[in-house]
């Protein structure tokens, strides 16, 4: 500023009113530049802030006004059908290594036979997305977490592979990755030494789509799986659950799973 002041004083002394225009021009230019710098700064910081806003963890943007869940009508489950299992494996890139004891299974077909009546039932079993998930309770690092919309996930950056969640899950829903993986599907983080399970196809749900298993079941004409918002009274899943009998597996544990079954 001192330089500017000196310059201005000299102009006034030496060149009269012509110099006043010069001064005004100079001031205009200076103020203009200042405004430009300020505007750039403001815009720039705005952009930076905007970027921060977009980089916030996905779970913070998720609303707890929604609770996603599944209703599984076992009476509609096709005999020997494994369309949901195949769709899950394809969607999430779960390739096996021909080692059934260590290969990851996010969804599996469970066959039940009533010991007293011999009645048989077949149903898909996966992460039940509990309201009070024991896996989240026991996880030492907080890698196992529940989104506000009820989807239970594993943060692949925090999982240390202690496998305590697998000890705690009443549904055997989780798999530990026992070997190096290659060719993972983009957007489905998976890796050796960490634990994973059904994500309820969170990448599809966030785009407003339904999970791959639900889509495949409908495509096959069974429509045994219904996906939706349990809190939305007008959704098909909420309407069905309010009118028809359904059950929670291990309901005695009071974990309030987001997955309900009919016909067991």
């Amino acid at each position: 500023m001192s330089q500017t002041d000196d310059h201005t004083n000299n102009d006034q002394v030496d060149n009269g009113h012509v110099n006043n225009d010069h001064v005004n021009n100079y001031r205009r230019k200076f103020l203009g530049q200042l405004a430009a710098v300020t505007a750039t700064g403001a815009l720039g910081s705005g952009l930076v802030l905007n970027n921060f806003a977009q980089a916030r963890p996905a779970d913070e943007a998720v609303s707890s006004n929604v609770r996603y869940g599944l209703l599984i009508d076992t009476s509609k489950c096709g005999n020997g059908c494994d369309a949901c299992v195949k769709a899950c494996n394809d969607e999430n890139g779960l390739q096996g290594f021909d080692r059934p004891e260590t290969d990851a299974q996010w969804i599996r077909t469970v066959k039940l036979r009533d010991k007293s009546t011999n009645r048989t039932v077949s149903l898909p079993m996966m992460c039940q997305h509990c309201e009070f998930p024991p896996c989240v309770d026991v996880c030492p690092t907080g890698a196992s977490f529940k989104r506000a919309d009820g989807i239970v996930l594993v943060d692949k950056h925090l999982c240390i592979g202690c496998r305590y969640c697998m000890m705690a899950c009443p549904y055997k829903a989780r798999s530990f990755i026992h070997e190096e993986l290659t060719g993972q599907v983009q957007g489905i983080p998976r890796g050796k030494g960490t634990v994973e399970s059904c994500t309820l196809c969170v990448h599809r749900v966030d785009k407003g789509e339904t999970p791959a298993c639900v889509e495949a079941c409908a495509k096959d004409g069974h429509k045994a799986l219904i996906f939706g918002d349990l809190k939305d009274a007008s959704s098909e899943i909420a309407l069905r659950i309010s009118k028809e009998a359904s059950m929670q597996v291990r309901g005695d544990l009071k974990l309030n799973p987001g997955v309900r079954y009919q016909g067991i």
């Binding site: 009533d114 079993m125 989240v136 907080g142 592979g161």
Partner: protein, 414 residues
């Protein structure tokens, strides 16, 4: 009691270096096994998606539990004021730290991502008993370290009782935490019981004492320092009481389960038709690891013999490992009861007894944890003054008389 003189061991003999070399080789093998498992992934181990905690956890939890038990000798001296145990207190602290380090090493090296240890140290979910245990373990190392300082630094002796009390309280909480890792698992028939915590505390008394007696006898035999029967007799009698206490709580655990119909399946599995797990329970844990040592420790024919006391300790440790194997692996082998009243089958081994056969790398890692503990003790007693020059009867307890039947019984019931 005469004044106790503590001295470092010389540690210059060829045998000392052979011992160090032996432990070092076992640790090297364990590290190689860890590299092999971590490089290839856990599919090269016996662990699966059904049995997620294998032999390394058996060793790790055993060592961690034994660590807190090893501290009891020091606690008896400073908390309960039994002066006869005072000469043993520094070694007790050292063994406690060493066993915990050995156990934690195995636990960490068996993680899916041991490279993320820093994550476990910086991210805590305080609802997780596992997270609490990280604090309990680290805190134990610090408190016992300070306790050793108070005991071994003459100027600080006056604080040793207070710190000893803190260490004793901490170790009880620590073992409660370790037992609760299993006690808090609501999903599984084999766990989900508050009795897990006190059971682990009693197990720690027993396993820790057996290991402590072996290390004490080994180091005195190796250095040629006198170890009188007064010390040994007290320790082995205590061991007997602890073994009996574990038997009692194990009996309560199973009797309570047997009373509840919902647990009959699990009890049948462990007690009757569980194959290896039934054998480990009756054959190793109960007979070999409890009843036979109890007999040996109190029978007039064997109770004074250093050899039989050694054998008893080895048997208690063997029984303890079998018990840990039954709890950790047997507990996972028994299928989850997802659909009561139904026969369940799937591609993910639902409804069947899960198969597990330990692999060599897992065993190597587990044994490596034991070697880490023992090498720490071996080096520790050479570097610092943990061991009294003599634990002769005349020094420890001049009034000690070799046990007659009556004195042995009165000590056992005391």
């Amino acid at each position: 009691m005469a004044k106790i003189h503590y001295r470092e061991i010389e540690g210059n003999s060829i045998n000392y270096y052979i011992l160090l070399g032996f432990f070092a080789v076992i640790i090297a093998i364990a590290l190689a096994a860890t590299y092999y498992m971590e490089h290839n992934g856990h599919h090269v181990t016996g662990m699966t998606n059904q049995i997620v905690w294998g032999v390394p956890h058996v060793f790790a939890v055993f060592l961690i539990v034994a660590a807190s038990g090893a501290l009891n000798v020091a606690s008896i001296a400073s908390v309960f004021g039994k002066t006869a145990y005072k000469p043993l207190a520094p070694l007790s602290g050292l063994v406690a730290i060493a066993l915990l380090m050995g156990g934690l090493s195995v636990l960490v090296l068996d993680l899916g991502r041991p490279d993320r240890l820093i994550v476990a140290m910086t991210n805590y979910n305080f609802k997780s008993i596992f997270a609490w245990n990280i604090f309990l373990y680290n805190g134990f190392l610090v408190i016992v370290g300070v306790y050793l300082w108070m005991m071994m630094e003459h100027r600080m002796n006056k604080y040793s009782k207070a710190v000893g009390f803190a260490a004793f309280t901490w170790r009880l909480i620590l073992t409660t935490g370790t037992g609760s890792i299993f006690g808090f698992l609501v999903a599984r028939q084999s766990y989900d019981a508050a009795i897990m915590a006190p059971m682990f505390i009693l197990m720690s008394f027993s396993f820790g004492m057996a290991i402590f007696i072996l290390i004490l006898m080994g180091s005195y035999a190796g250095t040629g320092r006198p170890l009188g029967t007064a010390v040994l007799s007290r320790l082995k009698n205590l061991l007997g009481v602890f073994v009996a206490a574990v038997l009692l709580i194990v009996a309560i655990f199973h009797l309570t389960n047997l009373y509840a119909t919902e647990h009959h399946g699990f009890e049948q599995f462990i007690l009757l038709n569980g194959g290896i797990y039934t054998f480990l329970f009756w054959g190793v844990q109960i007979l070999l690891g409890s009843l036979i040592p109890l007999f040996l420790l109190y029978s007039p024919a064997t109770r004074e013999s250093a050899l039989w006391i050694t054998i008893s300790c080895v048997l208690v440790i063997t029984g303890g490992l079998a018990q840990m194997y039954g709890i950790i692996i047997g507990g996972q082998a028994f299928p989850l009861n997802m659909f009561p009243g139904f026969e369940v089958s799937s591609s993910f081994f639902d409804g069947v007894v899960n198969h597990y056969s330990p692999s060599m790398p897992e065993i190597a890692l587990g044994v490596g944890g034991v070697a880490i503990a023992l090498i720490m003790v071996t080096i520790g007693i050479k570097v610092l003054r943990f061991l009294p020059l003599s634990l002769d009867d005349a020094i420890v307890d001049p009034h000690y008389k070799p046990a007659t039947e009556e004195t042995a019984e009165s000590e056992a019931t005391a």
